[in-house]
Symmetry: D2
Subunit: 291 residues, 4 copies
Amino acid sequence: MPPQTDPRHGEACLIVHGPDQPGLVAVVTGLVTRHQGNIVTLDQYSDNPEGGAFFQRVVFDRPDLHAAMPAIEADLDKTLAPYGMAWTLTDRSAPKRMAVLASTSDHCLLDLLWRHRRGELPVTIPMVVSNHTNTAEDVRSFGIPFFHVPSQGPDKSEAEAKIVELLKGNVDFVVLARYMQILSDGFLEEVGVPVINIHHSFLPAFIGAAPYRKAKERGVKLIGATSHYVTKDLDEGPIIEQDVTRVDHAMTAADLQARGAYVEREVLSRAVQWHAEDRVIRHGNHTIVFE
Amino acid sequence: MPPQTDPRHGEACLIVHGPDQPGLVAVVTGLVTRHQGNIVTLDQYSDNPEGGAFFQRVVFDRPDLHAAMPAIEADLDKTLAPYGMAWTLTDRSAPKRMAVLASTSDHCLLDLLWRHRRGELPVTIPMVVSNHTNTAEDVRSFGIPFFHVPSQGPDKSEAEAKIVELLKGNVDFVVLARYMQILSDGFLEEVGVPVINIHHSFLPAFIGAAPYRKAKERGVKLIGATSHYVTKDLDEGPIIEQDVTRVDHAMTAADLQARGAYVEREVLSRAVQWHAEDRVIRHGNHTIVFE
Amino acid sequence: MPPQTDPRHGEACLIVHGPDQPGLVAVVTGLVTRHQGNIVTLDQYSDNPEGGAFFQRVVFDRPDLHAAMPAIEADLDKTLAPYGMAWTLTDRSAPKRMAVLASTSDHCLLDLLWRHRRGELPVTIPMVVSNHTNTAEDVRSFGIPFFHVPSQGPDKSEAEAKIVELLKGNVDFVVLARYMQILSDGFLEEVGVPVINIHHSFLPAFIGAAPYRKAKERGVKLIGATSHYVTKDLDEGPIIEQDVTRVDHAMTAADLQARGAYVEREVLSRAVQWHAEDRVIRHGNHTIVFE
Amino acid sequence: MPPQTDPRHGEACLIVHGPDQPGLVAVVTGLVTRHQGNIVTLDQYSDNPEGGAFFQRVVFDRPDLHAAMPAIEADLDKTLAPYGMAWTLTDRSAPKRMAVLASTSDHCLLDLLWRHRRGELPVTIPMVVSNHTNTAEDVRSFGIPFFHVPSQGPDKSEAEAKIVELLKGNVDFVVLARYMQILSDGFLEEVGVPVINIHHSFLPAFIGAAPYRKAKERGVKLIGATSHYVTKDLDEGPIIEQDVTRVDHAMTAADLQARGAYVEREVLSRAVQWHAEDRVIRHGNHTIVFE
């Protein structure tokens, strides 16, 4: 989209979080106002009014935003330091750069590429990386670079190093679109950007491998999917979004897998969109989602 | 609940709405702060950043709120007048007074009384009024006064006058819990408080009488319920909440009615709760719901 | 409802299950037909066409059903024995007798009593047993006997013995409507009828105590409830029904509990209805539910 | 999929419908059994046990099905004629041939093609026809022929004639995947096969054009989509499937359209799958769906 028609042109997103104190909302909105910002949406949450944590998201309009950013940033530093608050300020005309890691499954991957092409995801996609080649042609037909990084044998360090080399400096976050390799702690540290995963169960039910088979064995009446930030603890990272769909006794584990695929892509696309729009704040092992 | 354990003690809810202008959020939050209010939650919405309408809801903590109210109100008048904004300020320690009007169906009525008894609806219920007597004993077993106002024949004016006499000055809003009489425009004007209805269909589908029969005839695969503010235009008032449930070809119209009853009570109870917590703002024929 | 207007008068429900073999459906439907039964609904399921298990539920109309039962039963024995099939035949004009066990929570208990009063649950309720007295008045106002069996201290055997004494021979199944005592294996054996529980989480997530607190700690975006048959393994019995509702970061554990209460009563009431209508067949740790 | 691994090889689907009479289920299952068919699933429904209509769907396994078909068909004719029942018998190893008609929107079209490629839709797709060319490359990348039939000006008869020429004899049903031209009665008659549409609202709400704009104007809290068979009466044909998704006051009509797109593709794909598997029986303006 050309910048002159971009509705987000001139829009900034400010996230503030830290220890709750009286008057914080007024401090932040006052700051935005004295820099000629017009607040478009404001969301705020305290997990405990008595000594808890405070989270605020402000989207504001400001002509000549680019030129004004340094002054706003300096004022944020000066104003929020006494309160011990952390902040991030984002120019919304610059979409985040998203890499997708995939394996053989194509449903989550293609859904992201479709939604991106339809203009629904405010990101750029500089690359798709896969340990298989079956989706290469599909990905490239969207005009998106595809890199094949095989990952065989027990030692994944070489493959991970190659992926880091591709991602480093080129992307703002990474999406695992049914990427079937467990990433090492070292990889997460080196990549240094948020990594979002889609897990094919309603966590914390059916942690680990083969959740649809386990769901069949347990005889559940709903199956689900969970999108979460990846941390060192497998399947234990902060949950961004979840959803479920109804199943019945007559469905096989393969039926559950097919049915679940559509929940996976819905849940993942919502999580990606919210992350891309700075609607998700991590706090310990939780997320605050300002939908 | 005794006031000293009421988590809302000392909490106020401020609603501001009017023509959108830059800086409004900061003006309002600044005002709250200079009156020693600590903002607990803040929601805000503009239906169009260019010349649209602006809506803000602020819940704030303030010790000695009762004593401070007059000064805050005077400041609101002075501060918001230049912007042409309307406002309402509510002391949340004083629950709204809700009357329920019912007919023979008991499911919506009893669900409201149960939830109230469980402490989930921040209201008092000074009375239930019905044009039938079948629910009298149930209502009174909750310790709530029940008044029978029969409504026979084509002329409803006498019955309506009696109901107005009961309600007038005694309640802050009225809930029609499957009350099967159409209220006149005059009644709505005289009562002078919001009236919330539950309609047993997914409006605007199946407007008017017998929606479950019509749903069966049309062969829909979902049925629903809609809670809305009552206006002069039958079934056309601003929608507060809606929900649906799945049905299939094997269900009779009576089955749809039984199944739908549970959607009705869920939808109505959510609408009542949101209204009671000042989360719903009417704007033309729409509602802004800050859930 | 008087028998002459009961739509189930003269209706029988036949359940057949055992090893799958060709021709079973025809064998069963042929038998029904030769006893002048008119099939109203038929459901059938094989978990594996090659050597799996077979399940069939047939509801049929038959004038003078009562008189014909012995002949049909004798024919079922003779006809199905060669196939190794088990069967049960139920006269639907005789509703099952359901006992409810409860503790202090009233939402599931009252919902069952109220649905029963509306004529939606084809059961009789000979008694409610509770280890607390707070719901006694409510229960008795429905015209249902209430028995108080306190359960204090670590040794539950005396209390269990008293409950068995009340239930034995008087009921066809037992519902634990948020009954907060763990039942011993001996109790389950002695009672000898199915026991249905409602667990306040989406099993197998958050097994054990305090699931809403655990859900809050894990930061899930949906909470749920599960109704299952009680077995020796706590929270591991065959699942009959489950459902979920959406929650967000701003809800406290107490909010989750209040919101979840309405999922619990919906899920439990569906499970009870399906069980009462012979729609649920247990098979290992699974259920076949012919909705 | 090669026939030898097709799990439906040797499977037939028999649909029987007509006036309800005692013993029909036994008559049909007896016939299947005497032709060495092993019943895999059986669904049956009577809309009124007293003089209503009867519907039965039987899927059965039969080695050498192809060779046995003529004898089974002759027996069906002979056996069912006295009861006045209609029937259709389908060899499930021969998938139905589905044409897709589309306009500029690609979301429903691509979703169908992708599900087909994953092996989830038991159909062949001999062609996609569109009155625009924007999706041509995408369609052909799936290996499926794309035909462009422009439709300009008020007289659609020439375009319709061309489409009929393409479809006639080549397809078993037609799917309108957001095809934005109204088809004439003559077209429907000439094509002579079922035509399935996806309407972007929860019918009967918002019949006609621009349903998302109308939904925004009415302020509904849920939006939906409806898949139905096309009849002469626009938006009035028998409904196959519907679903909804939650929206709120902050969403613009464009947001509703984007959100609704995903409901549309889910609903359409379910309707197509059920139709392709002979699970949908039309009866007047209703459908019986044996899910």
